[in-house]
């Protein structure tokens, strides 16, 4: 059974049709990279999976069950799905360590010593063990994003969602974040990644989904997609992006 399945998903913001007839299944352990032009609905798709956005039509199954309505059930589901945002969204009034322990303690009911030990282990894994007691604003963008990934991992998620995790970063910090994501992928984490980093898509993705105008136009292994894209839109998109 797939970990996540979207079936005929549609969504509008008012008159603006943002997602149309989206079918997508993600198997456990799979890395799916979503690419496409700006405004094609990639972020919205990503945010629908943990119900930060609600959908109008179709359904989304997580572990074979429809996403619960707002409430404790949904909170429990979200606690098993990590999310990494373009703008990091670390809790600004809490230290990096507190950012990592708040979820495990308040949602999973862990005791502080256990949560802190795990948090320090994760900070070490993403290479910022020495920043545990700093506030988020005292870190560089790349360090903040690595802390945000560690915060998500502290919940021991079965799925990780990334919405353009490197788009707000200076070029020299992009690779340090992509390296963390690549090593996460190699440990078998299930990931849905929205990104403009074609190098990452090629090297880390099991499948690439190409979106335009709220639809998934094609979905295929990265080699197939990059070397022989089927749709005209994908060829245009790749030509434009690779020229840069």
């Amino acid at each position: 059974m797939p970990l996540v399945a979207l079936e005929g998903v549609g969504k509008s913001f008012g008159d603006n049709r943002v997602l149309t007839d989206i079918d997508l299944t993600v198997e456990s352990g799979e890395v799916v990279v979503v690419i496409g032009p700006s405004g094609s609905g990639k972020s919205t798709l990503c945010r629908c999976v943990n119900r930060l956005e609600t959908i109008d039509t179709g359904r989304i199954l997580f572990e074979d069950k429809p996403l619960p309505a707002e409430g404790r059930e949904l909170a429990r589901m979200r606690s098993r799905v990590g999310m990494v945002f373009q703008s990091f969204n670390l809790f600004a009034h809490r230290t990096v360590l507190d950012n990592l322990t708040i979820g495990p303690m308040k949602v999973l009911g862990q005791k502080r010593p256990q949560a802190e030990a795990r948090a320090r282990e994760l900070l070490d894994r993403v290479g910022i063990a020495d920043k545990a007691d700093r506030l988020p604003r005292q870190l560089s963008g790349g360090q903040q994003q690595r802390a945000a990934i560690a915060r998500a991992l502290a919940m021991d998620p079965v799925l990780m969602l990334f919405d353009e995790p490197t788009s707000a970063l200076d070029p020299e910090m992009i690779s340090e974040v992509l390296d963390v994501m690549r090593s996460l992928a190699s440990t078998g984490m299930t990931m849905i990644v929205v990104t403009h980093e074609m190098g990452f898509a090629r090297s880390a993705a099991d499948r690439v989904a190409f979106m335009a105008d709220g639809r998934i136009l094609e979905i295929s292994p990265p080699d197939t997609f990059f070397d022989a894209p089927e749709s005209e839109r994908a060829r245009d998109f790749l030509a434009r992006i690779l020229r840069h």
Binding site: L52, E70, R78, V81, M83, F85, N89, V107, A148
Partner: protein, 185 residues
């Protein structure tokens, strides 16, 4: 307290609560304080709710200022980046945890200034309330000859002094809090 509760209602995901909060704030904000006073002092006794004039003054001022506090808290909450609440929800925190642990602590910083002005309005309004109470109420009371006007004045003046002590203490507390937060920044 009432103000924060109202602000919570106004940002809650439950529409009826949000409407109720909004209706309350809009109604009260667009009603002159004197009308609120009339309501409390003259209408409540009609439905057998009878307190001292001092209590009535407190009730009227509370009803009125809760709306102002609500607006101050709400604007403070809206000043917190929406990404903070999203990240909290994405972790699996419930709505109340999200508000209590993430949003309100950050809103406090934005709220201190506007709250200060609500409090100074409260100080001014208590003196207006006293004047209102003294003139109108003594008139009514004398006409009805049911009480000794001198004691009414005493009660209301006592109320004003009490308010002043209370609000000045609060203002001092706020200044301290503000300084501490500024230090923590």
């Amino acid at each position: 307290m009432l103000g924060t509760a109202l602000a919570t209602m106004r940002v809650s995901p439950v529409p009826p609560l949000r409407w109720l909060g909004t209706a309350y704030v809009e109604t009260v904000r667009n009603t002159p304080l004197t009308v609120v006073f009339f309501f409390v002092v003259f209408v409540l006794p009609q439905v057998d709710v009878v307190f001292s004039y001092f209590t009535f003054a407190v009730v009227a001022l509370s009803i009125y200022h809760a709306a102002l506090v609500c607006e101050a808290v709400r604007s403070g909450v809206n000043g917190v980046d929406a990404g903070q609440a999203e990240a909290a929800r994405a972790l699996g925190l419930t709505f109340s945890q999200c508000l209590r642990l993430i949003v309100l602590p950050q809103a406090v910083r934005n709220v201190i200034q506007p709250l200060g002005s609500v409090i100074s309005a409260l100080i001014r309004n208590s003196s207006i309330a006293a004047a209102f109470g003294v003139q109108e109420l003594t008139g009514v009371v004398q006409r009805l000859t049911t009480a000794n006007p001198d004691s009414v004045i005493a009660v209301l003046l006592g109320g004003v002094v009490g308010y002043l002590i209370l609000t000045l203490a609060l203002a001092g507390l706020l200044t301290l809090t503000e300084r501490r937060l500024a230090g923590a920044r």
